[in-house]
């Protein structure tokens, strides 16, 4: 059974000429971790707030676990939705300690029972023994885990994350992402994550939805979206890319790259990720002779910018390689482009 079915949700703010979200539709299955990505102002937070119940759409419907939350003449208040939310600023109640924070959503439960739930949550989130502390006595990462524990405690149907890691420093962010991914998998939680950070999406989700200007532009597995972006916006959003005119390739290569497309107009660009190009010393099919312009050691890879002759024009191509020791203005060898990692974008 689908946990969440959002159908054509549209939200236009009063006084604004264009809707913030236009016909947003999404279906989530049980246990799925979906990341909603996009630059700031793309409408992703509005979607999250509509699902949580803090924002009313102008039209569209929302069904969570078979129950209509938003529909014609129907609007379920946020407190009745059983949808948990973890905020960017954690929003821990400063006047309550960790234990009381986590127990906040367990009203109507017998005390000894709710105590057990809180203990279990503290254990799952690695906070055992910190129940008596107050939010201001916790580190950023601990606060984050309390926020998660608090949202998980009432066993929500779905949990929402609003930019959960942006207030946490870079070093901690990485380990926290993995911890939270583990907790979510361990508890079988269905989660929707809103973020502008692609690393959040890669670490935490098994499906990504990319939004721009209020509409969904692409959705799919993280690797698919990374390798085969639907357009330049998505391609840029997910990292560096080389754009080469489709006309620069010979017919056979074009055929391989564009196999999935109905028609090629000729003015499209071919998007190739810097890590989709290999360097080889021997000339082979589809390989291009190239010269190094600059080489910059980046730690886990070396970023090499080279120049090569493609279809009669000189093109610049950036590649990421694990090899080191490139000298500027030398021949690098041959660049081998794998047609399966090339995508045509508008």
């Amino acid at each position: 059974m689908s946990i969440l079915i959002a159908d054509q949700l549209t939200r236009q703010f009063p006084g604004s000429t264009t809707p913030a979200v236009i016909n947003f539709s999404l279906r989530m299955e049980e246990g799925e971790l979906v990341a909603l990505l996009g630059a700031s102002g793309c409408g992703k937070t509005t979607v999250l707030r509509m699902i949580a119940g803090f924002e009313r759409p102008n039209s569209g419907s929302l069904v969570v676990y078979g129950q209509t939350m938003i529909g014609p003449e129907k609007f379920v208040e946020p407190e009745k939705r059983k949808i948990g939310i973890v905020f960017q600023d954690h929003a821990l109640f400063p006047h309550l300690n960790v234990h009381e924070n986590i127990r906040f959503g367990l009203k109507g439960m017998l005390v000894h029972h709710s105590k057990r739930v809180v203990e279990k949550m503290l254990e799952i989130t690695g906070l055992a023994g910190l129940g008596g502390r107050y939010p201001h006595q916790l580190s950023g990462g601990q606060q984050q885990r309390v926020a998660l524990a608090r949202a998980l405690a009432p066993e929500p149907l779905l949990i929402l994350f609003d930019e959960p890691f942006s207030s946490i420093d870079t070093l901690l962010r990485k380990s926290l992402r993995h911890e939270i991914a583990e907790i979510l998998e361990q508890t079988g939680t269905t989660a929707l994550l809103v973020s502008h950070d692609i690393d959040d999406a890669f670490a935490l989700s098994n499906r990504v939805v990319v939004m721009n200007h209020g509409v969904i532009v692409q959705e799919g597995k993280p690797v698919e979206v990374y390798r085969n972006p639907a357009n330049k916006y998505v391609a840029d959003f997910f990292g560096q890319a080389n754009y080469l005119p489709v006309s620069a390739f010979d017919e056979r290569m074009t055929g391989l790259i564009c196999c999935s497309r109905q028609r090629v107009m000729g003015d499209e660009l071919v998007c190739i990720r810097p890590d989709g190009i290999r360097i080889s010393l021997q000339k082979a099919e589809n390989s291009l002779e190239a010269r190094v312009l600059t080489a910059r050691f980046m730690g886990q890879y070396t970023e090499v910018t080279c120049e090569c002759d493609l279809g009669g024009q000189t093109q610049r191509i950036t590649i990421h390689t694990r090899e080191t020791g490139f000298d500027a203005n030398t021949r690098i060898g041959y660049l081998q482009i794998d047609p399966s990692v090339c995508t045509v974008v508008e």
Partner: protein, 545 residues
Amino acid sequence: MRWKGIFYERRLFPNGWVAGASLAALALMVPLIVIFSGILEPTDKVWSHIVNNLLGTYTMQTLLLMLGVAVCSFVMGVNAAWVVSKYRFPGRRLLEWALIMPLAIPAYLSGYAWAGMLDYTSPLYSFLRNNFGVHTGQYLFFDLLSLPGAIVVFSLSLYPYVYLITRTFFQHHAGNMFDAGRSLGLGPWAIYRRLGIPLARPAIVAGISLILMEVLNDYGLVNYFGVETYTTGIFTAWFAFGNVGAAMKLSALLMVFVLGLLLMEKYQRRNLWYAGQPTYAATHPNRRKVRFGWVITVLTSLPFVLGFVVPIAAFIHWTVSVDAANHRDFGRLLLNSFQLAATAAVLVTVLSLFLGFTIRTFPGLLTRVSVRIATLGYAIPGAVVAIGLLVTTLWLDSKGGGTVLITGSIAALVYAYAVRFMAVGFHSIESGNERISVHLDQAARSLGSSLWRTFLRVNLPLMRGPMAVAFMLVLVDVLKELPLTLILRPFNYDTLAIRAFEYANDERIAEASPAALVIITAAIIPVILLNLIMKHNPHHKPSKK
């Protein structure tokens, strides 16, 4: 599937919260509506007498008083703010803080103190007469009980408004502009004249507007000093002529002045730009050292000494020297005053909490308008609120079978205080709310809390501090209040302020001292609090209180 947006739009009143806020606003607006309806009342003999013989004087004297106070408090407040912000001299740190203190003495009490001291029979005058043979006729230096006297006393007790707001500007918001001026070769005087005053103009105008609103609100001082303003006119119309219609018309006219000031203040405050982040200059003030620093010390401490030390010393002296038999019913006065003030403060605080949570949760147009209306009273002079409410209660009593039940009741008085001081309480609750992320409320609701539970379990506990501040500020304001209390108090119901007023008008100022001292002592607390807030949070815009 698509449905028309209309299904999703909120109804006019989406819930009880917004409906409640609107009702509260309507209720608090009643006196103002009544006052403006007074314009429509048919004119009678009393009104034409006022128009023909008194209105000119009222208008003239009100305008002169406003002009004089504006000039005097500008001189005192702005110069002091500049000197304290930009120069180093002995006692600077102490003075920076002490210069606010006169705010703790209501203008009318300051007036009584000065009048008592400069009276022909006062110890000071007797001393000068007997030892130095000073004979200046009936008055010591000049007749204090006059328009110029009132201007000086008003300025001495109200200049801190303009001082405080310009000081904050000079110290925190002018950024590096003064340093830039110095590097361009401007001397200290040129910087003050060419940069300081022009840049601070919005702050100065805003501060002076607040001062003038206080002047329009006053009755005690103008009454004692014999200045015939609109407020004295309202009292004459009601107490001497017994004519409510004329009082209403004068109130409506007075409101024209108030609206003018209000617009000016709003307009100028919008122009008050803030330099954003505190600059290096703000965090590391580079104050100029001056020769003869003690001269500056003496000059700068004058407003503090004359506006605070002298009146308090006088009141203490009289309190000690007056026969204890005169303090017999002092306990009852205290009880009356504090009971009344506490009741009003509780009412205002509870209403503010409710309005604060409503606008936080439903920041729609209706709520915003309601809150704006509910907090309008701070601008309306006490006498105007009182007359508006008096007319309302008289009407209600006449509809209720002719018995006087509501008019002159404690309930009506407390209600009038709520109208007048709602803004004071609401501001502190509002600034408390602004410091708390709205995500806390949303988190509570996503955890299954209803709005009520969120209000009680999340908002209220976090509002403890602002609640205490709101309660205390309103308490003190009610203790100080005079004109509204004079008109609406139950028969023979005396408070500290009323007693001070009555003694002073009986030429027994010395006997008014104990009551005055209690009021001043209570009023010192919020002044200290205000200073702390302005010091630690320079982005806080000082409002009326």
